[in-house]
Amino acid sequence: MIKLLNVTKEFPRTGPALTGVSLHVPKGAFVFLTGHSGSGKTTTLRLIHMSDRPTDGEVRVSGFSSIRTSRREVWKVRRRVGFVFQDFRLLPGRSALDNVAFALEVTGTNKQEIRPRAQRLLSQVGLAVKSGSQIHELSGGEQQRVAIARALASEPLVLLADEPTGNLDERATRGIMDLFWEINAMGMAVLMATHDLELIRTYPGARVLELDQGELVYDSSQKPGSG
């Protein structure tokens, strides 16, 4: 479903962020993308989301190629790829329900369906009772749940998460990770960037990809005897 084919990404000021990376994330997979800061994790996620384009090579997402998909068509890719950030990126001054409803509204959901669907999505992430709360009234873990509900609004095939537990305490982290696993169990692929090796060890069933200085140096699925 997601393929990176010999992808290189260079930035004019900082030089290469990824060099010749090839990887494949099939439907329904749960993948940790790990590595030190600056190893290329975020760049990889942005390339899959087509927020950036590779300098060389090709990114394929659910039938869309980074070479052939124009900027005007990129919205089609984004509806298949949900994105969750470390800092949540929610709209302040609005309720949890409004944040999710906003995503449904701007992706063309029928007006009558917006609020019931937003409410269902919040229920799915365990926040039904706090749907009317303003964003600043929610804890970090709750805010991340709202962000996940928003990412699920377009019913994507894959959920990208960039250090989603980086700002959370241990308990909230566990809650969010459980949620990701639940979402994955429903058939949605999850690709999570994290540098937290402790967290990765807690979920031995997941596939692990490691980047180092822009190169893919480890893929647990390539280990002898592993999936």
Partner: protein, 285 residues
């Protein structure tokens, strides 16, 4: 379109203070242009009323033959830029002199003969009020057999036309300068409004909103901000006009075509500035 309009109105409602301040900034910027227009329009009117007095007087010989008078009239009337040529006979010239200068009335009864010559007075169309046209008429008149002398206040006419050229040039330079400043202020005001909502644009792109859906409400919002700014500018200019009219001196209101142009400019600037600002944030995702 209805959705776009609804979105634009709802986003204006979400941040009424920002929308109001943006409109006010646009309004103040266009108000400066409005004041400038008011001054320029009235200066132009003043200058035009002076220019209407530009005329060439061809004094005619005594004992003039009718055929020469007819030829002179026909020649002068057909020259480019000429509005009308009026003939004043000798008795009419005396009558005007008595009317304009009462002391002549006292001595006129002692006169054995009327000393005032007949004349042809040439008036010009607005587009004919140029040094070149006036001089062409003077040159043509001087060659006519019926004409003895031609007067037109050369120095006065040249100064008047020089003043008009300087006025026009100054108005153009100042107008461009004011319009540029207004453009920058309007651009900044609307960019601030869009900047305040950059996170919304980011999230729209993030979740897969189509470009048009992101763009249209912002463009409409820019147009509404520009329109409100234009209305405020017209209101401020009108209030200033009324204050000057009531308290200081008579002042003509600017032509309605200028008012519509001001509103149109406000809307256009709003759309262009929004477009530029949104385009910038769209590139980030």
């Amino acid at each position: 379109m209805a959705n776009t309009f609804r979105d634009a109105i709802s986003s204006l409602k979400r941040s009424p203070l920002l929308a109001g301040l943006s409109s006010l900034m646009v309004g103040m910027a266009l108000f400066v242009v409005g004041l400038f227009s008011l001054v320029t329009h009235n200066l132009r009117l003043g200058l035009s009323s002076v220019e209407e007095r530009v005329e060439v007087v061809a004094y005619l010989r005594d004992n003039l033959r009718q055929v020469d008078l007819d030829a002179a009239l026909e020649t002068l009337e057909t020259l480019p830029g000429v509005e009308e040529v009026r003939y004043f006979s000798k008795p009419e010239a005396l009558e005007r002199a008595i009317r304009d200068l009462p002391e002549i009335a006292e001595v006129s009864t002692d006169l054995e003969a009327n000393p005032f010559p007949a004349s042809l007075e040439v008036r010009f169309l607005p587009e004919g009020r140029t040094t070149e046209t006036v001089e062409a008429v003077v040159a043509a008149a001087e060659t006519l057999p019926a004409v003895e002398d031609v007067r037109y206040g050369r120095e006065w006419v040249e100064r008047l036309f020089f003043l008009r050229r300087i006025g026009g040039f100054t108005a153009l330079i100042l107008g461009v300068a004011f319009a540029t400043v207004a453009t920058l202020i309007i651009g900044t005001a609307i960019r601030i409004a869009v900047f305040a909502r950059r996170e919304e644009i980011y999230i729209m792109r993030l979740v897969g909103a189509r470009d048009g859906l992101i763009w249209r409400p912002f463009l409409l919002e820019g147009a509404v901000t520009g329109l409100l700014g234009g209305i405020l500018a017209i209101l401020f200019t009108w209030l200033t006009h009324q204050a000057v009219y009531q308290l200081l001196f008579e002042l003509e209101w600017i032509p309605m075509s200028w008012v519509w142009a001001g509103l149109g400019t406000g809307i256009l600037f709003g759309i262009v500035a929004s477009n530029l600002a949104v385009r910038r944030y769209l590139k980030e995702v």
